[in-house]
């Protein structure tokens, strides 16, 4: 009896891998791309979820931060809320107010929520004291760690306001609240002493609930709380989900998109690896028979065929991990900026779990056909390898033969029906490739629509400002607040720092007089407070016909007169308001009631912005004018001439440059293009592999056809026709599926970014484009089949006829 050591088995495996170069390449590339996209998606998921979740869990973060009016509810009543059903822990009441501190160099910090606590806390919102110590006496404050930096070191002093009798506050510590309950802390007595005049004192309570995982649950908890207390006592709440969303927002928006690509990649990898391996076994029946005839055991045959898949897959997986890590770097560095000082890298376990999972998938995909190979009886295997081919698909040949098309084409069209499983694998590969392409095209267009919908005031040709222009274009526009957690300091003040020095009426008159003016409107920007909303929100006030600078509307309409306000989705979700509700907005010490007339697509400032008519506020004056010039007028020349007029008044004018793409959008588009290219390539490789298998199997038949006079061109036509139908079917399934995926993922991305999306972002496909995308499925199939088609045309007829 012949005994085979590992050497014989090893030689068989090596020769199998070496002989089937196309299959080896397809397995390696398919797994590489699937693993790369899974590593990117996985690391982003971990990076965007872990920092917040870990910090929140460690600090026993507050599910709901609630502010109460102390004139309407007593401390005893608030203490009674601790025993409400569903409340598992609570802290407070803490005296709370809002102050506008002034930095050491006279610069204003944004309006900050100041909470009086005697210590960092324990049961709820246990603050993480990053440096320094807790405030022990009046005149000491602890700042949010997001302010820590060279502008505000420990020991630095601030003024509580810019009034003459402002108190001096010394920074004694920096702390982090995962719940985002405040930006500044002091002793309760200190807070009460600062809550005078315009600074209203409220009581802050922090709650944890047994059910607070969803918005609906939080809303129910909030209602329960409001119902337990006198009407009007609850003036504002902040959900931990909003804080989490705001923190994760930067990179969280990429997760659904990466998840979709990750799933597509993994499914495609499974399909292609499975079809490659089963195809390899199917076309190796004779070889299996011979191996068994010379003494290989069924187990050794199984081992040989699984190993033939695992070797190239392992190489592909290793390369995929490297590629995935390289691709994740730019995304993670972007995420890192969102989380401030937290250093992010691909989680080590992602680099372990993803390749291990991929290897398992490959092993299972290979094991099923390998077991079939192992079970084959020796005689049967040899006989099947030499016997006439299966008679499956004869009906298809009969039907295709009736089509009014050249015979090689109809012969090719019917070919896939001889191997239905292989044909289904090809259809799935093309379908997934088409889904990826359709989704990516839609995503890119949606992201472009998002980019063009941002900062609509940038669409102006020229901007004139009433103050000095300062650093250049953009001055006088809406100041973007730093991203959540990003370093903030006096230099990044978000308060109403633009001090007008020119009379806005004079600047407006100059614009009206300037030849070439087509239209213009004025804006004023600054912090405002809204009743029931902790802290401040950013306000932009518009004067004149501001339609050209309007935001994309999700619902309702843009401003059309005084008394109106347009707000983003984030504002509505945070406050629980709806279109038609009235809000009280205080801007530059003037409080007015405004009716919400529209929901705008505006993600700046975490969606906490208000857009109102400037004339609603009697004291507000425009700081900037956004001008459209007449056709044929050069914005640069216009701006130069206008600047000549308004500079002596104390203002300035400049032409707007084309807005730059948002980093995240550019990054997402690049990722989409890259991942799509990878998936479409995998689809093409899948088709290539299947057609190679098919062509090799049919080489004798092709030889017969060639002997009968089939020309090389007709042979190419036959092979290409054999995948054309598959391409059509893949396109017909893939385009609607990609369309549906886009329709599902985009709103989820929007939700992750804290906004609903307007139709301009969602409805991006047009019919000709969808038809072209459908044809892309055919192109993927034809490109994948072109190499084996060329080989089939070139193969020598006499050689093909000799092939068994």
């Amino acid at each position: 009896m012949i005994r085979f050591g590992s050497g014989a088995l090893g030689r068989v495996v090596r020769s199998g891998v070496g002989r089937r170069r196309v299959q080896t390449l397809v397995i390696a590339v398919a797994t590489m791309m699937a693993v790369a996209s899974a590593v990117v998606a996985g690391s982003l998921m971990v990076a965007t979820n872990a920092p917040f979740d870990h910090a929140f869990a460690r600090q026993h973060g507050a599910h709901l931060t609630a502010e109460f009016d102390p004139r309407r509810v007593s401390a005893a009543q608030l203490a009674g809320t601790r025993s409400l059903k569903g409340v598992t822990a609570s802290a407070g009441p803490f005296p709370t107010t809002t102050i506008n501190p002034v930095g050491p160099d006279g610069g204003h910090l944004p309006a900050l929520t100041l909470v009086g606590r005697s210590g960092p806390g324990k049961d709820v919102d246990a603050l993480d004291l990053k440096s320094g110590r807790w405030a022990r006496k009046s005149g000491e404050i602890v700042l949010s760690a997001s302010f820590a930096g060279q502008f505000l070191p420990l020991g630095e002093t601030l003024k509580s306001s810019d009034s003459a009798d402002a108190q001096t506050l010394t920074v004694v510590g920096f702390a982090l609240s995962a719940s985002g309950s405040a930006e500044m802390w002091a002793t309760p007595a200190q807070v009460r002493s600062l809550a005078t005049g315009e600074s209203v004192l409220t009581d802050q309570m922090l709650y944890r609930f047994d059910s607070a995982a969803t918005k609906a649950q939080i809303t129910a908890d909030r209602k329960k709380l409001a119902a337990a207390l006198p009407s009007g006592a609850l003036v504002g709440t902040q959900s931990w989900l909003d804080t989490k969303h705001a923190t994760d927002r930067g990179a969280a928006a990429t997760i659904p998109f990466l998840f979709a690509f990750g799933v597509l990649g993994i499914v495609m990898s499974v399909i292609i690896v499975g079809s490659v391996i089963s195809g390899a076994v199917g076309t190796s029946l004779r070889r299996i028979g011979i191996l068994k005839a010379v003494g290989f055991t069924p187990r050794e045959v199984v081992q040989a065929y699984v190993a033939q898949a695992l070797i190239p897959a392992a190489a592909g997986i290793a390369l995929g991990v490297v590629l995935g890590n390289l691709l994740a770097v730019p995304l993670l560095s972007d995420t890192e900026s969102v989380y401030g000082t937290v250093s992010l890298s691909v989680a080590w376990w992602v680099d372990v779990v993803v390749p291990a999972g991929a290897l398992l998938v490959v092993a299972v995909a290979a094991l099923v056909p390998a077991l079939r190979a192992g079970r084959l009886r020796t005689v049967e295997a040899i006989a099947v390898g030499r016997a006439p081919r299966t008679t499956r698909g004869q009906w298809a040949h009969r039907a295709a033969g009736r089509l009014p098309l050249p015979r090689p084409v109809t012969y090719g069209l019917a070919s896939p029906f001889a191997h239905p499983v292989r044909a289904i694998a090809m259809v799935l590969a093309v379908t997934f490739g088409t889904v990826a392409a359709t989704f990516a095209v839609g995503l890119t267009q949606s992201l472009d629509a998002v980019a063009s919908a941002q900062d609509p005031e940038d669409r102006a040709d020229v901007t004139a400002v009433t103050g000095a222009a300062g650093p250049g274009p953009g001055t006088g526009r809406v100041q973007k607040a730093p991203a959540a957690g990003a370093e903030r300091g006096p230099a990044a003040s978000g308060s109403n720092e633009q001090q007008p020095s020119a009379d806005p009426a004079a600047v407006r008159a100059a614009i009206a007089k300037q030849p070439g003016t087509a239209a213009y409107f004025g804006t004023a920007t600054g912090d405002a407070t809204v009743s029931g909303v902790p802290g401040t929100v950013r306000a932009t006030l518009y004067q004149g016909d501001s339609r050209s600078g309007s935001y994309e509307m999700i619902a309702g309409h843009w401003l059309s007169g005084r008394g109106q306000v347009v707000v983003p989705t984030g504002f509505l979700e945070r406050t629980g308001d709806r279109i038609g509700d009235t809000v009280r907005v205080t801007f530059e010490k003037e409080t007015v009631s405004l009716r919400i007339v529209g929901e705008a697509f505006d993600t700046a400032n975490d969606g906490m912005r208000v857009h109102a008519d400037l004339d609603s506020f009697t004291k507000a004056k425009p700081e900037a004018f956004h001008i459209e010039v007449k056709s044929g007028v050069s914005p640069a020349d216009y701006a130069q001439k206008l600047a000549g007029v308004v500079k002596p008044l104390g203002g300035d004018a400049f032409a707007e440059s084309a807005p730059e793409g948002e980093n995240m959008i550019v990054l997402l588009e690049a990722m989409a293009a890259l991942l799509t290219l990878m998936l479409v390539s995998v689809a093409g490789l899948g088709v290539l592999n299947s057609v190679v298998l098919d062509t090799r199997e049919r080489v004798h038949d092709l030889g017969v056809c060639k002997a009968l006079g089939m020309s090389p061109r007709q042979t190419v036509g036959l092979v290409l026709a054999s995948v054309a139908g598959i391409g059509v079917v893949g396109g017909l399934i893939g385009v609607p599926a990609g369309f549906a995926l886009h329709g599902y993922v985009l709103p989820v991305m929007g939700e992750s970014a804290g906004t609903r999306l307007p139709p301009s972002v969602l409805d991006v496909y047009d019919t000709p484009q969808l038809v072209l995308l459908g044809l892309a499925g055919v192109v993927v199939a034809l490109v994948g089949a072109s190499a084996p088609a060329g080989w089939a045309a070139r193969v020598r007829t006499a050689t093909a006829l000799r092939t068994e």
């Binding site: 698909g393 015979r407 038949d701 056809c705 006079g709 020598r796 007829t797 006499a798 006829l801």
Partner: protein, 230 residues
């Protein structure tokens, strides 16, 4: 006399082989002639047939078939030449299993662009003549060896070729079926068809051929036509 086949100094050498598989050979086959090529295995019979059919190219010499020099034709032109001038019958039939008998027979006509109805009509005629009409809608796998070879002959004749090449046409058949095919070839020759027949079967050669060449180690050892001329 008009030669349908004209080989001048034809030799075929395969890569890596020291000696040529064939030749050099000079050979002329007249129109209406039935030539049998015999010889032991490896003597070059199939190589000779492949060169005449344009399935392979000679290493040396020229091959002219039906007035056309084919050794320098492109693959495309060779394919056109084969479908218009050559009919081939193989030892193992080489029918396409997934096509019906009628579709197999029609295939070469359809490759030339013959109209569907005309191709069907011609195939119908041949099936009737060869007695396989009742199998028109059947698949080759269900036919006997003799029936399959009749289908192969019908397919070879569908484009009315100038030359019918048969490679061991009875080699895979039982005695009765072999006899059947033998008679068919005799009938075809009697009808004026030029035939080149490669066979081990001397009985078949004697029955079907008007001339026999015997190849040994790639060279023509015996040519009954030359002997007759002498």
């Amino acid at each position: 006399m008009t030669h349908v086949i004209e080989l001048e100094g034809v030799a075929k050498r395969y890569d890596g082989a020291d000696a040529p598989a064939l030749g050099p050979v000079d050979l002329g086959v007249a129109q209406g002639e039935a030539l049998a090529v015999t010889g032991p295995s490896g003597s070059g019979k199939s190589t000779l047939l492949n060169l005449i059919a344009g399935l392979d190219r000679p290493s040396e010499g020229t091959v002219t078939v039906a007035g056309q020099r084919i050794d320098r034709l492109s693959e495309h032109a060779l394919a056109r030449f084969r479908r218009e001038r050559i009919g081939m019958v193989f030892q193992f039939f080489n029918l396409l299993d997934d096509l019906t008998v009628a579709d197999n027979i029609r295939l070469p006509a359809q490759l030339t662009g013959t109209a569907r109805r005309a191709a069907a009509s011609r195939a119908g005629e041949l099936m009737e003549v060869l007695g396989i009409q009742k199998h028109a809608r059947a698949y080759p796998g269900r036919l006997s060896g003799g029936e399959r070879q009749r289908v192969a002959v019908a397919r070879a004749l569908v484009n009315k070729p100038a030359l019918l090449l048969a490679d061991e046409p009875t080699g895979a058949l039982d005695t009765a079926s072999g006899q059947d095919v033998r008679e068919l070839l005799v009938d075809l020759h009697r009808g004026g068809q030029t035939v080149v027949l490669v066979t081990h079967d001397l009985e078949l050669a004697r029955a079907c051929a008007t001339r026999t060449i015997h190849l040994v180690d790639g060279h023509v050892a015996v040519d009954t036509h030359a002997e007759a001329v002498r």
